[in-house]
């Protein structure tokens, strides 16, 4: 028996085993088999959410530091009655909106230049600058900003050398927004680039040849055609910002908590898993509603996903 025939025999065996495990009549479902692991993971997430929902319906008994057996909406009522939670939630939503706006504003030109540039060197430089931050964690980046923007940081040192007074550049809301925009920018660029790549340069040339200047071309051709990337990037940046914990903690100085900090405090500082779960459910619900609203406003095909069968 030659080596090749051994190989073929082996492959035949493998094929017959595969056919036994997955008969031909199931072939139409093969594609779904490949998404089974992903579905399983999403399923586990849903189980976790189910547990969270269950926890959220039990109040803490401070005599035993265990959740009470009885079901109630006490944790949700507590959330509604405490103005501080609403304030933190609004602060989080405002931050998510601002960060999304500024990130898209900065990311779109970056992505556009990276796709359209004729210079290989510029493209490489932009690509390196884009990917480099991914190798540095969010916490390290936040501490980096503390070093740069702190009282004895590079910026204030320069100001002092110029005879100017120092500025309070960290431990405030603005610093948190700044840090988050810097953190989110690469994500947004990566999501916008495919959309810009999909826009044929001929379309822009055609618009210009019909008399449109570059502003009109940009407004009526490039932006609408890049909408799937912008919406996708917007959703990712918005939801990531809404659930962020590290930037407000490190750059906020403790007084600009986001809802994630309130959830952490409930679970770990107060040992109140019921309240933490209720806050988490509120966050999930608001996030889901907002994303649904975006899809509703921008159309089902926004992300170039087919909405109906052909």
């Amino acid at each position: 028996m030659t080596r090749q025939s051994v190989l073929w025999t082996l492959l035949d065996k493998v094929e017959s085993v595969a056919l036994t495990l997955w008969p031909m009549k199931f072939r139409g479902a093969t594609g779904y088999l490949f998404i089974a692991p992903a579905l399983l993971l999403v399923g586990i997430l849903l189980i976790g959410l189910g547990y969270m929902m269950e926890y959220s319906l039990h109040e803490l008994d401070t005599a035993t530091y265990r959740l009470k057996e009885a079901y109630s909406f006490g944790n949700y009522l507590f959330f509604a009655e405490q103005p501080v939670y609403l304030r933190i939630l609004l602060r989080t939503l405002l931050a998510a909106t601002l960060v999304t706006f500024f990130t898209l504003l900065l990311a779109f030109p970056y992505a556009y230049v990276m796709v359209r540039t004729q210079s290989a060197l510029v493209r490489k430089l932009l690509l390196v600058s884009l990917f480099l931050p991914f190798f540095i964690g969010q916490v390290v980046r936040a501490y980096g900003w503390l070093i740069i923007l702190g009282q004895q940081g590079i910026v204030n040192t320069l100001l002092v050398k110029m005879g100017l007074p120092t500025l309070d550049l960290i431990y405030n809301y603005g610093a948190v927004i700044f840090g988050l925009v810097q953190y989110m920018l690469p994500f947004a660029v990566l999501l916008i680039v495919p959309a810009v790549t999909a826009i044929s340069e001929d379309m822009e040339l055609a618009a210009e040849s019909l008399g449109a200047n570059w502003i009109r071309t940009f407004r009526h051709v490039v932006l609408p055609m890049a909408r799937p990337g912008l919406v996708g990037a917007g959703i990712v940046v918005f939801t990531l910002t809404m659930t962020d914990f590290a930037m407000p903690e490190i750059l906020g100085g403790g007084t600009t908590d986001f809802i994630a900090s309130a959830i952490y405090d409930s679970f770990f500082q107060l040992s109140n898993s019921g309240l933490g779960a209720a806050l988490s459910m509120v966050l999930v619900a608001i996030g889901s509603l907002l994303v649904a609203l975006v899809f509703w406003l921008t159309g089902a095909g926004t992300l170039s996903i087919r909405s109906e069968a052909p």
């Binding site: 304030r87 431990y171 309130a262 500082q269 040992s271 109140n272």
Partner: protein
């Protein structure tokens, strides 16, 4: 050194006698003989920095030298290890650590939940100061190991005329944005009541003077953080004054940072830390975990551990470190404690969630 050796020998002798007696009594039950089998290591949750170094040098290393059991310090945040232990005990799994070095308040919460092992049979409990006994709890579900004070730490450069005499310094507009508190008000909540014009008797029934003080303090834009933040902020010149544990201020000073501390006229909050063992450990591991806690209460361990921390131990008669003699942040006698504000752990456990909510409401606005 001789004392140290004698102490270790004495522990070895005690352990050997105890093990021998236990073995003789258990001959009829061979399975239980494994109870005293030495584990390869004990995992002790600890705080990092100066705290961890003190536990290692004062307790862990001498314990290893005496017993041959390696001690691994686990620096998981105390609030984060808590749910892990609770889940393990509830689910019948082996807890992730053998001994938890915890604040007495957090340890009391775990005791109320019923996840702590009773330590009443530890031989070294005898003769300790009353401070060692957890308040409001039956027996010893935890044992307090030392007291500590939340002092007023300050940058001496910012106070050329001397130490601040009142906590009202935190309201001075000169220090706007340059003051710091713990991010949950821990260590300051009772003091805020007194600084706000109330009295100790108002706690916990009437916290309003404290809340009013916080509202004024909010105008001065304090930074809110944790132990490590304070050290960093002092080091980088971000703050001039803070309420923090004297250990942190002393460690910072020993590392060359311009920090001093004082006990202002309103007093400071005094609290305790303790050790506890989670339920659900294998019998032999629980036995040696108890031996570890027992060792931590011995004179030798208390002397070195607490001296390094700069904190008054629960073992009586230990001489304070030279630099802390006469320091009001190192209370040793009843009259020293009288100048400080001590709220029993059960009161803290019951009220801290309410205080925390109010603190958040004021400072997150």
């Amino acid at each position: 050194m001789m004392n140290k050796m004698n102490q270790i020998d004495s522990i070895k002798r005690r352990t050997a006698l105890k093990a021998g007696a236990a073995a003789a009594g258990m001959m009829a039950v061979p399975g239980l003989l494994q109870a005293n089998d030495k584990p390869k290591e004990l995992i002790v949750r600890a705080w990092g920095g100066a705290w961890g170094e003190a536990l290692k040098a004062g307790v862990a290393d001498p314990f290893t030298a005496a017993t041959g059991i390696k001690v691994r310090l686990d620096f998981t945040e105390d609030n984060e290890i808590k749910p892990k232990i609770w889940a393990a005990v509830d689910q019948g799994r082996i807890p992730p650590i053998h001994v938890n070095w915890d604040t007495s308040t957090n340890a009391t919460i775990s005791a109320l939940r019923g996840v702590t092992v009773d330590l009443s049979d530890l031989s070294n409990l005898e003769g300790l100061l009353p401070l060692a006994k957890p308040a409001g709890l039956e027996g010893y579900p935890l044992v307090n190991t030392y007291a500590y004070v939340y002092v007023c730490a300050y940058r001496s450069e910012a106070f050329p005329d001397g130490a601040p005499t009142s906590w009202n310094v935190l309201l001075d507009p000169k220090f706007k944005g340059r003051i710091a508190l713990y991010d949950d008000g821990i260590g300051f909540n009772p003091i805020s009541v007194i600084a706000g014009g109330g009295t100790f008797a108002d706690i916990p029934g009437n916290m309003e003077p404290g809340y009013e003080f916080y509202k004024k303090l909010k105008q001065n834009e304090p930074l809110l953080g944790e132990d490590s933040d304070f050290t960093t902020w002092f080091q980088k010149g971000e703050i001039d004054v803070a309420c923090t544990i004297s250990v942190n201020a002393r460690a910072a000073q020993q590392n060359g940072i311009d920090v001093k501390w004082t006990v202002p006229e309103e007093g400071c909050k005094v609290d305790t830390d303790g050790l506890w063992i989670p339920k659900g450990l294998p019998t032999n591991e629980e036995f040696w975990a108890k031996e570890f806690v027992n060792f931590a209460l011995s004179k030798e361990a208390q002397e070195k551990w607490c001296s390094m921390l700069g904190l008054p131990p629960v073992y009586p008669g230990i001489t304070p470190p030279e630099d802390l003699v006469g320091d009001p942040s190192y209370p040793t006698k009843a009259e020293d404690f009288a100048k400080l504000v001590s709220v029993p752990s059960p009161v803290l456990v019951e009220n801290q969630p309410i205080w925390f909510a109010k603190f958040n409401e004021i400072f997150q606005s």
